[in-house]
């Protein structure tokens, strides 16, 4: 034993520990710098937003309500607890009462914790349910976005590639855009004290990756693509040609671009 513990060895170990402690702040700074370049900085150098037009499509019939997309989004973007850049709603429509002459019964909607943990079994007995389905929700990437229209300083803007972004170093935190979004997609971030919303994972899509929610969806309920650069057998083009698509709250004139297939009239 005593042969193993030498003065040189102990000194080496101590020097290693001290060196490690001293190097930690430098390593942290480096890590932050790398993150800054690769993760937090929204787009890499050379990315031309005029050469892309991003779009998301959501297939209601494919969504299984597993909540992985919500969880991935929160992880990827550091979304604060209790707030959501994307979420899933569960619609349960009950059978009409016998003899009521109605087509359908009550519509019960829920989204516990944004559907992040999936959904507990419905309290309504199965035989009373007419139909039930899940609807993923997110920023609708409006053509005439009311949220960017009302921003008093122009901190939120429509990027030429279709994303609706917020400059959190510029936002004054008035909350006007949160009020103006008819879809409840924006929230007031309690950490940055600014407005916050889905960026389509801008740091990913500008580097050729898919948004986190699309990447993780096990049932391909989320289809993402670039309208200006379609790939062979483009999933987005296929989605549009094979489905009857709709958008949410069209009557408000916001020009929502996110496409839905299989929407029910109860969804809003």
């Amino acid at each position: 034993m005593s042969d193993n513990i030498t003065r040189r060895g102990v000194l080496k170990s101590l020097a290693g520990i001290v060196g490690g402690i001293l190097a930690m702040p430098a390593a942290r700074t480096c890590k932050a710098a790398v993150q800054n370049v690769f993760a937090i900085a929204p787009a890499p150098k050379g990315y031309d937003p005029f050469k892309h037009k991003w779009l998301m499509a959501l297939d209601v019939d494919r969504c299984i309500g597993c909540g992985l997309c919500v969880e991935a989004c929160c992880e990827e973007n550091g979304v604060p607890e209790g707030h959501f850049r994307t979420w899933i709603e569960r619609y349960v429509i009950t059978q009409p009462k016998a003899g009521s002459g109605e087509m359908r019964g009550e519509t019960i909607v829920d989204s516990p914790d944004g559907g992040k943990e999936g959904f507990p079994e419905s309290l309504i007995p199965k035989e009373d349910i007419l139909k039930s389905f899940f609807v993923p929700k997110m920023c609708n990437l409006c053509e005439n976005s009311p949220c960017t229209q009302v921003c008093p300083v122009g901190a939120t803007f429509d990027a030429p590639d279709g994303a609706v972004l917020i400059d959190k170093n510029y936002c004054i935190g008035c909350g006007f855009c949160v009020q103006a979004c008819p879809y409840g997609c924006r929230f007031f971030n309690p950490i940055t004290h600014t407005a916050d919303k889905c960026t389509l994972c801008y740091h990913r899509i500008t580097r050729g990756l898919k948004p986190a929610c699309v990447e993780i969806c096990p049932s391909q309920a989320r289809i993402f693509g670039d309208l200006k650069n379609p790939v062979p057998d483009d999933p987005l083009q296929r989605f549009r040609s094979t489905n009857k698509v709709e958008t949410l709250k069209q009557y408000l004139g916001t020009g929502p671009r996110v496409l839905y297939a299989g929407l029910d009239e109860e969804v809003r």
Partner: protein, 419 residues
């Protein structure tokens, strides 16, 4: 597991009823009591200015005793108008971006300009032209701090010759004429902030700016009645009943117009029965029962209408004391009613989900930036400023036209009237 427990707790909280979007499930509405106070204060400014304009522009001589009081009231409240907004911002240190880099499609971006225009180009200028000759006189008679203040406010212009005073009066009148649309703009714009939000069926309404302007005029006039009567009581003098009767007449007609338009708004909403009407009806009759139906409609509108209306009919048969009692009660009720109206619009509009499937609740905090302590403080602050302004610029011991020659005409009408 923790998240599940948290979710269950949030679900069990009584403040949410039905389905609300997950991002709407916050402890209090995004725009809370501070944003209630903000349009209230701005409205009082606009209304008080309109009261002053009745003297300057429309030459209603009987209201002269309250001319300067109304202008000073408008100033005291205007100085505080931005404070609630500032306290509410997530980044108040970036507030000047609104003026430095405004986004012209935003109604809120225009606020900086409308506010600056109204404060600098209208209210301060009108006050200065009105007071200039008095400043020159007082700077000669008063010493100490007061003397310094009055001397500073003359801005070095000490010419009080008859042509100069006449010019003051003429410019003052022109500013006042410009001031009326400016006052309407100031508050109409506040209404537009809400009216422009089409996402919200309660707010998104073209009548909203008009309702805000009218209720502003009503509240500002009621405030002038209140402050004038309070000032008379504090000074131990009897109010000028001719002035008071006329003020209240104008107030009555303003309430008639305001309540008609607001009634029309509701009638239209109920009749057209658009998408959100079921939710709006539910909010109005349950969560806003006390503030909307009792506070705003009954106590704030119907009771003052009956009281003031009956005074218009049987004024001569009622003693001055009783008249004053009725006027004071009505003014206080109207002030409370308009505050309730601001509450109903701002808070009411955030008590239901934009999914139109559920409701939120709001329980005001005591302390904190969104608490009632701060908002009450912000409502009291203009009164404190007003007391200081009255002390310095409406002092009875200072010789002015009204003090020396009661009921004397203003230089605007007869330039030969001198002290």
């Amino acid at each position: 597991m923790d998240a599940t427990i948290l979710t269950n707790v949030v679900d069990a909280l009584p403040q949410f009823d039905g389905y609300v979007y997950p991002n709407e499930r916050t402890l209090h509405p995004l725009w809370s009591v501070l944003i209630v106070v903000y349009p209230y204060i701005t409205g009082l400014v606009a209304g008080a200015f309109i009261m002053a304009s009745l003297v300057r522009v429309f030459k209603v001589k009987a209201l002269e005793p309250v001319y300067r009081l109304s202008l000073l009231t408008a100033l005291a409240f205007l100085l505080c108008a931005t404070l609630p907004l500032l306290f509410h911002l997530g980044h108040p240190e970036r507030c000047f971006e609104i003026m430095m880099t405004p986004h012209f499609s935003s109604p809120m971006a225009m606020f900086g300009f409308v506010y600056a225009w109204y404060l600098m180009a209208v209210l301060l200028l009108e006050l200065w032209f009105d007071y200039r000759r008095d400043f020159v006189e007082w700077s000669k008679t008063e010493g100490g701090l007061r003397g310094i203040i009055y001397r500073a406010f003359t801005l070095g212009v000490t010419d009080v010759s008859e042509p100069a005073v006449r010019l003051d009066a003429r410019v003052g009148r022109i500013i006042s004429i410009v001031g009326i649309p400016s006052a309407f703009l100031l508050h109409g714009y506040v209404g537009f902030i809400f009216g422009s939000i089409k996402a919200n069926p309660w707010w998104g309404n073209p009548l909203m700016p008009i309702i805000f302007i009218l209720s502003a005029v009503v509240s500002g006039m009621a405030l002038c009645v209140f402050i004038y009567m309070f000032l008379c009581w504090a000074r131990g003098v009897t109010a000028d009943m001719r002035c008071l009767d006329l003020m209240v007449s104008f107030l009555f007609y303003a309430v008639v117009i305001d309540s008609t338009i607001e009634g029309l708004d509701w009638l239209h909403r109920l009749y057209s029965a658009e998408e959100g009407i079921a939710v709006l009806k539910s909010v109005a009759t349950s969560k806003l029962f006390y503030t909307l139906l009792i506070g705003q409609a009954c106590l704030g509108t119907l009771v003052p209408l009956v009281l003031l209306g009956s005074m218009q009919l049987v004024r001569k048969k009622v003693s001055e004391l009783n008249r004053r009692r009725v006027y004071f009660t009505s003014a206080v009720l109207i002030l409370m009613g308009v505050l309730a109206m601001r509450w109903n619009v701002v808070i009411g509009g955030q008590l239901f989900s934009k999914s139109l499937r559920g409701f939120m609740s709001y329980k005001m905090e005591f302390a904190g930036s969104e608490g009632w302590l701060l908002s009450t403080g912000l409502l009291i602050l203009p009164f404190i400023i007003l007391i200081v302004l009255i002390k310095y610029f409406l002092d009875r011991d200072l010789p002015t036209i009204e003090n020396v020659v009661p009921g004397a005409a203003r230089p605007a009408d007869s330039p030969e009237a001198q002290i």
